[in-house]
């Protein structure tokens, strides 16, 4: 297996006196989707913020071997005073691109996530919850990240739309060689799209399981996905 794009080594983190994560150690392999699962409050989102460099661990080390990371939060966190197009183009401001190029790339990415040119001119309040999540996904993908951090981004979407969005993430991983770390509560989804599944215990979160399902993602049939999901659910208890 190639070198890990992201590695957690002995990570501990606490909010004040409350320990959230303890002795977290696992790798997120390059060019693969890693699903992170665990009960509510076990520190999955905190681990994501540590991966993004938005928090610093109390102990241990986060090793990032990526050129550009992008994060998608549970809440879309769109700028309410900017249109969908401007929200996506905002992510490119750090690249120092001309405004016209930012707009063109943002428009192309919005089309890729299934939004129309008319939707692109709307403000977040004028879009449905699912459309807002798609704008947030477009914003994450438009920077062409080699590390995608996805904090349960499609939980609010209906099953079919969530599957479409997961397919977009897989495209990014397979076509562009990106790496994805995805938080999900859905064992079926994890079993369907992830090469590696990491399970955390309840608070404080510790690694309970790191599993690489044996079949390649594209070759998993319904039976394999169901049995893998059963196995995960049994571990979660």
């Amino acid at each position: 297996m190639s070198m890990a794009a992201l590695g957690f080594d002995g990570i501990a983190f606490a909010y004040g006196a409350t320990a959230v994560l303890e002795d977290i150690g696992f790798d997120v392999p390059t060019g693969r989707v890693t699903a992170l699962m665990g009960p509510s409050g076990c520190g999955k989102s905190t681990l994501m913020l540590l991966a993004a460099g938005l928090l610093s661990p109390n102990a241990g080390e986060v090793e990032r071997r990526c050129r550009r990371s992008a994060i998608m939060f549970q809440d879309p966190l769109l700028l309410p005073w900017r249109t969908a197009l401007a929200n996506v183009a905002f992510a490119l401001k750090a690249e120092g691109l001309p405004a016209a190029e930012r707009r063109d790339r943002a428009a192309a990415m919005l089309a890729r996530v299934g939004l129309t040119a008319e939707d692109a001119t709307k403000f977040p309040r004028q879009l449905s919850g699912g459309m807002r999540q798609r704008v947030a996904l477009a914003r994450a993908l438009v920077v062409e990240p080699d590390l995608l951090l996805l904090d349960e981004p499609f939980g609010a979407l209906d099953a079919q739309l969530a599957r479409q969005m997961h397919a977009l993430v897989r495209d990014q991983v397979e076509q562009d060689g990106a790496t994805a770390l995805l938080i999900t509560h859905d064992a079926q989804e994890a079993a369907r799209i992830a090469e590696r599944i990491v399970l955390l215990t309840s608070s404080p979160g510790r690694v309970a399981l790191v599993r690489d399902p044996p079949q390649p993602v594209r070759q998993r049939g319904k039976g394999e996905i169901a049995s893998e999901a059963q196995r995960l659910l049994a571990c979660i208890g």
């Binding site: 401007a86 401001k93 004028q126």
Partner: protein, 251 residues
């Protein structure tokens, strides 16, 4: 339909004005025709233009001064509790002092146009300060975190994240302060003799010329309505696009 009702309201006000004129006479309340003729004379002899420019300069400079100081102090107070605890009582004291008292003090301290500008700034600053405190206190930490995750440069943080949020809180206060700055400016000019519309009203009062006084009142109201229609309503409409759900879809 709203415009029809608006027109009915204005026509009712004009009818009351005319009725008042007929009941109490031209010295107390000049008729609509006499006021219109006086206004036309003031416009034609070049009295209105320079007076309007002077009042606009006084009100604009005072408003700008109040806006800059109020915004900076309010933002600092919103972000730092110590500064907030220190400045909030000061703001309450300043708000409690009537504008007329400030005019008298400013005339003693500065005199002339500076007194007018100072009075406008001190009357409007605390309003803007209060709005800036609210704006800075309600800055969305999650949006800032998102922007940092996308490595937004400082200019983008200011223009795309913090700026619009602060402006949405400041706008109503800035608009109210703009209207207030005209009224306070005219009042201060009337007492200070620093030129402008207030000076025109002072002259009309000295001549017991009620028609000219009413003509100046019409000028002030016309300016406020024009600014509201050409500038403030457009800005308000743009902000309503993202602040209210005007076209949401389910699903």
């Amino acid at each position: 339909m709203a415009r029809v009702y608006g027109a009915i309201g204005i026509l009712a006000l004009l009818a009351l004005w005319e009725a008042g004129h007929r009941a109490y006479g031209a010295i107390v309340l000049p008729g609509l025709d006499e006021t219109a003729r006086t206004l036309w004379r003031l416009l034609r002899d070049g009295t209105v233009g320079p007076a309007l420019a002077a009042t606009a300069a006084h009100a604009g400079a005072g408003w700008l001064l109040g806006a800059v100081i109020g915004t900076l102090a309010g933002t600092a107070a919103g972000l730092r509790a110590g500064i907030r605890h220190m400045l909030q009582p000061v703001s309450v004291v300043l708000l409690g002092i009537p504008s007329i008292a400030w005019i008298v003090l400013a005339l003693l301290w500065f005199g002339g146009a500076s007194a007018v500008i100072f009075t406008v700034a001190i009357a409007t600053g605390p309003l803007i300060f209060a709005a800036a405190v609210q704006g800075a206190r309600s800055l969305d930490g999650d949006l800032a975190r998102m922007a940092r995750a996308f490595r937004a440069p400082p200019a983008a943080m200011a223009l795309d994240v913090y700026g619009p949020h602060m402006f949405s809180h400041l706008f109503p206060a800035l608009a109210a302060a703009l209207a207030m700055s005209w009224k306070v400016s005219v009042m201060a000019e009337l007492l200070s003799g620093a030129g402008g519309i207030g000076d025109g009203i002072a002259g009309a009062r000295a001549r017991v010329d009620t028609a000219e006084t009413m003509a100046w009142v019409v000028v002030v109201v016309a300016v406020l309505i024009t600014v509201d229609h050409l500038l403030l309503r457009r800005l308000r409409r743009h902000m309503e696009l993202w602040r209210t759900d005007t076209g949401g879809r389910a699903g």
